[in-house]
């Protein structure tokens, strides 16, 4: 098997996913294009060496439709020979794209590829692409479909996390994100985004609220009590009948932020690095994916982690840094509880509660954060994972080289 190396990882800053967010005027194709151009320009890369561009995107319709990956490669001025494919594994799409690129390199079928993702949530709202799973009665009813927020509240109810626990976690996320920015930990990865005139519009994550306190969060209303009352609580209880009720602990302050952004990771074989004149930064040790119970939906990371560590014959103690996307506070709290992970080893630079979760891109973003963080701290091994819609988990282990 060929080794697959990470040569670089970049991301855009995350813009608030609202009409007044800084990146709202930037088309998703432009976000993806600026990321691809940055990867090329930082290294004077001969793009003819790249076989494929794989981009995750969760709402691939409208201006994110029609294979945004190939479109972006063309638009970025990459060599015509660079293929492109858009993939969708919901919230883990960005990491999945990296893993698919890696798989092909490891299998010796490609030499180099870019894995990443893009999502303009302000322009294409969650759910915009419809689908059978949430809507088609023949599918949704037997699958006990509930929206993600209800699943997160279900996790909190089932595993005993209070509003207080979740808020405390959120405050810590804000604190760590702010500190990471202050210390310039993201500096290397950030591609400042420019508007149509070529003027920079955003170079810093826009969703953060560094001053957040537990007292401040206490005033926020639960976001998913209303859908719960409309019927989704009962759907969750019918799947988990040991619960008398769902406690609605998640709100805007302890859920991942809705944001716009894109990311890209340049991957290749050792030979590619030699030809391109690049030094590898990290090695992909392995990756895995798994399906888990779809109603509680967001517990997949626990199971995919166990699967991957077993595949790699590793123990949790072999992992120096853990990164689990902060889709919702209870998702991370449950993961820490299930695998007995100390808080100071996981999400050390904060996460999506503070900085936001641009669905298709996040996996590649947090992988990049781990590459930078391993280098900064001199540590060796990191595990990156995300919870996923419809009950899945994707994980990957990287090693600094």
């Amino acid at each position: 098997m060929t080794d697959c190396f990470i040569y670089d990882a970049v991301r855009t800053p995350r813009g608030r996913g609202k009409k007044d967010g800084a990146l709202h005027e930037i088309t998703p194709i432009s976000l993806a294009t600026q990321v691809l151009q940055a990867l090329r320009d930082r290294h004077d890369l001969d793009t003819g060496l790249v076989d494929d561009v794989i981009l995750g995107c969760v709402e691939p319709i409208g201006e994110q439709g029609a294979d945004i990956a190939r479109t972006a490669a063309l638009h970025a001025g990459y060599a015509e020979t660079v293929a492109g494919v858009q993939i969708n594994r919901f919230c883990a799409s960005g990491l999945e794209a990296v893993n698919m690129a890696a798989a092909s390199i490891m299998a010796g079928q490609t030499q180099a590829a870019i894995g990443g993702g893009v999502e303009s949530m302000s322009r294409l709202a969650m759910g915009a692409s419809g689908g059978a799973w949430p809507i088609d009665p023949s599918v949704a009813i037997p699958a006990y479909f509930v929206p993600q927020g209800i699943s997160a509240d279900l996790i909190a109810s089932k595993y005993g996390f209070s509003r207080q626990d979740c808020d405390a976690y959120a405050v810590e996320s804000q604190k760590r994100s702010a500190q990471a920015w202050e210390e310039g930990r993201f500096q290397n990865a950030i591609v400042p985004i420019k508007d149509v005139m070529g003027v920079m519009v955003l170079d810093r994550d826009e969703h953060m609220r560094p001053g957040t306190t537990v007292e401040g969060l206490a005033g926020l209303n639960p976001s998913f009590a209303m859908p719960g009352q409309m019927g989704f609580d009962d759907v969750a209880i019918q799947k988990y009948p040991e619960l008398e009720r769902i406690s609605h602990v998640h709100h805007a302050g302890n859920s991942s932020g809705v944001v716009d952004g894109a990311a890209g990771v340049l991957l290749g074989s050792e030979r590619f690095g030699e030809v391109a004149g690049l030094r590898p930064r990290a090695k992909i040790k392995g990756f895995a994916m798994i399906g888990s119970e779809p109603c509680i939906m967001l517990t997949g990371p626990e199971f995919v982690t166990q699967k991957l560590l077993a595949n790699l014959r590793m123990k949790p103690s072999d992992i120096d840094l853990w990164e689990l996307n902060e889709a919702f506070a209870a998702v991370v709290l449950r993961y820490m509880q299930a695998l007995d992970i100390p808080h100071d080893k996981i999400n050390v630079c904060g996460g999506a509660i503070a900085m936001g979760h641009p669905l298709g891109a996040t996996g590649a973003m947090i992988l990049g954060t781990m590459v930078d963080e391993l280098e900064r701290t001199g540590k060796s091994t990191a595990l990156v994972t995300l919870c996923i819609g419809a009950g899945m988990g994707v994980a990957n282990v990287i090693e600094r080289v």
Binding site: G127, G130, P134, I135, D136, P137, S138, A140, I141, P142, Y144, F145, V146, P147, P227, M230, G231, F232, D234, V235, I237, Q238, P241, E242, L243, E244, R245
Partner: protein, 724 residues
């Protein structure tokens, strides 16, 4: 062209070429869409299409009692047989049969001439679907008229265009409650929601006026550029489906195939051209018919219930009496309730108690009920006044001298009842019937206090009387046919469903429901989490969890029944988990809902929640927390008790056992009732599972020999294909 020969329509054509077709199916009290009628609707459509002289058509009904009650369920045998068939050919054949109605309504809709429906009575199911295929609908103004699609209530779904036309007419949101829950609309509501165009005192005239005014022969969905109000499923209406699916599961626990299939037909149909959409609906209709739930519900909730309501079990050879007067002794909650339902049905009621104050209080119950009904616009003041005028509260036993039937509903004590029976008979006409509403004392025993035991019968109403639709008529050893017949006449007069039950402890319903509660309490003792107990029961299809039900019944009453049973059985009585819990909670002053403290805590103005002290009553460790095991325990415990009742001839007719179980204590309606549940499981698999449960949980699950014998001999409760 001349008028074709019709038997179901009387057609008149005026000078302008406007046909008035009066729908009047011969030999039927209520218009239904019989095979003959369907063929003639097609002939009507063809005639309108082909005869150039015709300018349009108004369809109305020649029956007083309504416009059309929909498909003829009695005539569905062929379709059902094919739908249940295993081969693809059977399914294709079933589709053809099912699609006939869609095809015919579509031909009327596309005949090229404006067709208006003058709905001068109730239009349900296929009746409303027919109306929806017309281009204009005028409905009479009478508040008795109802428009609706009640199919799901008997296990079916609309199958004559209802899922497609109604959604395209008013949108998914407004159509939902009609299609998925069988809600019906009064004329004004129907107009407000856009289901009909006009409400008129003279619907035929209004319909004619519409045609003469240039009414268009096209429905909106046949116009170019048609858009579904509220959006399409994979568009704006996506959110509605998302929430709608959740609500459907919330309300039905996904136990009923029909509404899920109806929802699917809407979802898929709205993404298709109209003609293909009708096909999808018919396919889901066939798919629904193929489910045992649909077959069983149709049998129990439509056919059997209709039979029983018409007095199928009334003793032959006893002349039918119209019950005009009634006396109720004991104006407590039950007596007052009986007085109310009787008075509502136009029966003159003497309501007798020991003091005038008590008797008046009994009448006040009716005053409260009618007050509510009037303020909610459900009853006119005249009706309310007439109802109340029918009730005469008194203390005077001589008032019993004029009535044909007396029901005693006094305190459940043998001594009190003995005195009342003797005193009543002293004043009653010699041929009048005396009934007891007891729920705990054997009728045969009470009959020993009577001087004319052949005229003594049990009439067991359920509480609350105004809501509960079942009445058990209890036959004591000496009860004669005339007493049974009179009791039945009363039950039919008050529009409830009678079942005849032999005299045994708990009669039929209570003995079965007790097994349900008993399982719940046993689970508490085993240490099954109370929320899981309650949820599993509801997932099984029960309307209320066993712990909540015990709270409703009241814990002190439970203690009383236990004591009575213990006294009656003497040494044979073995106290168990139920005794420990109920006695313990009673001693702690927890009486149930009535004092706000039982298995649940009932905070004022807030939702009840399970009491955390129940953990003190755990004495073991649970054998299984698998919801499926718990569901089985609930259903099997009840079904086995019903089978025992049936085999020991406490109930003698499977229809009564099934209908009684659904109406009496809400047994999983999706199954069609207790015996239908056994039969749909299959006798052998049922016995095998019960044997397993008996191993784990004891004698409650012991399979009676009679059932094993039935299985061995391949017998069933119902003949195969009992549907019509």
């Amino acid at each position: 062209m001349s008028t074709p020969d019709f038997t179901c329509f009387q057609c008149e054509t005026d000078a302008d070429g406007l046909v008035t077709a009066t729908f009047d199916v011969p030999g039927k009290t209520m218009n239904t869409l019989t095979q003959a009628a369907i063929a003639e609707i097609e002939a009507l459509a063809n005639w309108l299409k082909d005869d150039e002289a015709l300018k349009g058509c108004v369809i109305t009904s020649g029956k007083d009692n309504g416009f059309c009650a929909g498909a003829d369920l009695q005539e569905m045998t062929a379709l059902l047989t094919k739908a249940q068939g295993q081969s693809e050919d059977d399914k294709r054949e079933a589709f053809k049969l099912a699609f006939a109605l869609n095809r015919v309504f579509r031909s009327l809709e596309t005949c090229g001439k404006p067709v208006a429906m003058a709905i001068n009575g109730l239009a349900l199911g296929g009746g409303l679907e027919w109306a929806l295929s017309c281009h204009y609908r005028v409905v009479g103004s009478s508040s008795k008229i109802q428009l609706g699609l009640p199919e799901v209530k008997v296990g079916l779904m609309p199958g004559a265009g209802g899922t497609q036309r109604l959604t395209r007419l008013v949108g998914v949101m407004a159509a939902g409650p009609l299609i998925l829950e069988g809600k019906s609309l009064r004329p004004q509501e129907a107009q407000m929601q856009g289901v009909v165009h006009e409400v008129s005192d003279d619907p035929v005239a209004a319909a004619k006026a519409w045609i003469k005014g240039g009414g268009k022969a096209k429905n909106p969905w046949d116009e170019d550029g048609f858009r579904i109000p509220g959006g399409a499923p994979q568009g704006k209406a996506g959110q509605m489906f998302m929430v709608g699916n959740a609500m459907l599961r919330q309300k039905t626990y996904a136990n009923y195939p029909a509404p899920i299939h109806a929802m699917a037909a809407v979802y898929e149909g709205l993404q298709l051209p109209f003609d293909r959409a009708l096909e999808i609906e018919s396919k889901y209709f066939v798919k629904t018919l193929a489910t045992p739930q649909a077959q069983n519900m149709l049998r129990s909730l439509f056919l059997s219930m209709q039979d029983l309501n018409k007095g199928a079990r009334r003793p032959k050879g006893v002349d039918k009496d119209k019950i005009e007067s009634l006396a109720v002794i004991g104006a407590g909650f039950m007596g007052a309730g009986i007085a109310y339902v009787a008075a509502k049905a136009g029966v003159k009621v003497v309501l007798l108690d020991t003091s005038q104050d008590n008797a008046d209080k009994g009448k006040a119950h009716s005053e409260t009920l009618v007050g509510k009904a009037v303020s909610r616009g459900k009853m006119s003041q005249d009706k309310a006044d007439a109802l109340l005028a029918n009730i005469t509260p008194t203390t005077d036993y001589t008032a019993l001298g004029d009535v044909d039937l007396v029901i005693e509903a006094v305190f459940e004590s043998r001594e009190v009842k003995e005195a009342v029976i003797k005193q009543a008979e002293a004043h009653m006409k010699p041929d009048a019937i005396l009934a007891s509403n007891t729920s705990t004392i054997p009728i045969t025993e009470l009959a020993t206090y009577s001087g004319r035991p052949d005229q003594f019968v049990g009439i067991h109403f359920f509480s609350p009387v105004d809501k509960m639709l079942l009445v058990e008529i209890i036959r004591g050893d000496k009860t004669g046919d005339r007493a049974i017949a009179t009791a039945m006449d009363l039950v039919m007069t008050v529009k409830k469903t009678p079942i005849v039950v032999e005299d045994a402890r708990g009669f039929y319903a209570n003995r079965c429901v007790l097994k349900y509660i008993e399982q719940g309490l046993s689970m508490v003792a085993e240490g099954v989490p109370p929320a899981l107990i309650e949820n599993a029961a509801k997932m099984a299809g029960m309307p209320v969890g066993p712990l909540a039900l015990q709270d409703e019944v009241a814990i002190d009453l439970g203690v009383k029944i236990l004591k009575q049973t213990a006294d009656d059985l003497g040494n044979a009585y073995k106290p168990g988990a139920v005794d420990a819990i109920l006695n313990g909670m009673f001693a702690q002053g927890r009486l149930g809902r009535k004092n706000g403290q039982g298995f649940y805590v009932y905070p004022k103005g807030e939702d009840k929640y399970l009491w955390d002290g129940l953990s003190d009553y755990v004495t073991g460790s649970p054998q299984s927390l698998d919801p499926q095991d718990l569901k089985d325990r609930f259903l099997y415990a009840q079904a086995l008790e019903a089978v025992r009742s049936y085999l020991s001839e406490i109930v003698t007719d499977p229809r009564e056992a099934d209908v009684g179980s659904i109406l009496g204590w809400g047994f999983a309606p999706w199954s069609g009732g207790v015996l239908s549940f056994v039969e749909m499981t299959g006798l052998e698999p049922f016995i095998a599972r019960a044997d397993e449960l008996a191993q784990e949980y004891g004698d409650v699950f012991a399979v009676p020999d009679g059932l094993r014998k039935m299985a061995e001999q391949g017998e069933r409760f119902y003949p195969l294909m009992a549907v019509a």
